[in-house]
């Protein structure tokens, strides 16, 4: 579960240049190919690395508008709402949360006008009492993992 320095370097290297193979990695890292292979296998079976799926940019697909919606759910309707939202393609992720809202989801839309359609579809469901939406203007820090991996590798070092 904890990762060491070499694991960290493997993940960071892979994040920076995803297309390089095991052989090239072993050259860059100065270790044997079998070692990199074994580490990678372990990281994947550990679940640290979930996969290598393509990162698709919704904007390039024609969905340049992103928004976060906080939803309030009618008591006991949680499961139904989850199932409903799972059927909406523009809902990219959904979390149940503590705090003022009960759920929080990430939406994309083709335009600000289209966002209205998406929100209508999202909230057009009986179990949802209220939705409050924040439109994303700028993605100041895109989803990243490298700093956290380096942190985790550091922590492991000093222990």
């Amino acid at each position: 579960m904890a990762i060491d320095h070499l694991d960290g370097r493997i993940i960071v290297l892979l994040a920076r240049e995803p297309r390089i193979g095991v052989l090239e990695m072993s050259r860059r890292l100065g270790v044997a190919r079998g070692t990199v292979q074994a580490r990678l296998d372990r990281l994947q079976s550990n679940g640290v690395i979930r996969g290598f799926g393509p990162e698709v940019d919704p904007a390039a697909l024609g969905y340049p508008v992103t928004a976060f919606a906080t939803l309030q759910i009618r008591q006991g309707q949680g499961a139904d709402v989850r199932a409903h939202l799972a059927t909406v393609p523009e809902v990219l992720e959904l979390h149940t949360t503590t705090g003022t809202g009960d759920m929080m989801c990430r939406l994309v839309a083709r335009s600000n006008a289209d966002l209205q359609r998406v929100i209508d579809r999202v909230v057009g469901f009986d179990g949802i009492v209220r939705a409050s939406t924040a439109i994303v203007m700028e993605n100041a820090v895109p989803l990243r993992i490298i700093p956290l991996v380096e942190q985790a590798a550091q922590d492991r070092e000093s222990s």
Copy 2:
């Protein structure tokens, strides 16, 4: 920018089985290898596919707690706050938004107690007036892109 049905099938196939190569894809899709290769090159230069970085699970790294924080920023301090948050490894992404808050970020922490430390570090900066945090209990719909890709491919078909 718009993708057709074949593009959609390539992306979906790649998302489901990331490790398969161009050759195997061409076999599965029933098209020539050169075609798949050309489509993939185009999708990448279009920016539709950003890359193939490893998907790292913060929970498996020892950060099982996720939270969303809505931040209110002192006027004119936006750039400084962005720079500050970029230095915090536990900040996985950051958006500037419309609505009640000025920014919204995704945080992870080692525990609920550790989340306090992270939040203190996040808000321990002059430009941040107030932070309101929602802890994620369940990730009902993990970040996904396949339904949107299929939608986008559909839209292209019917046009």
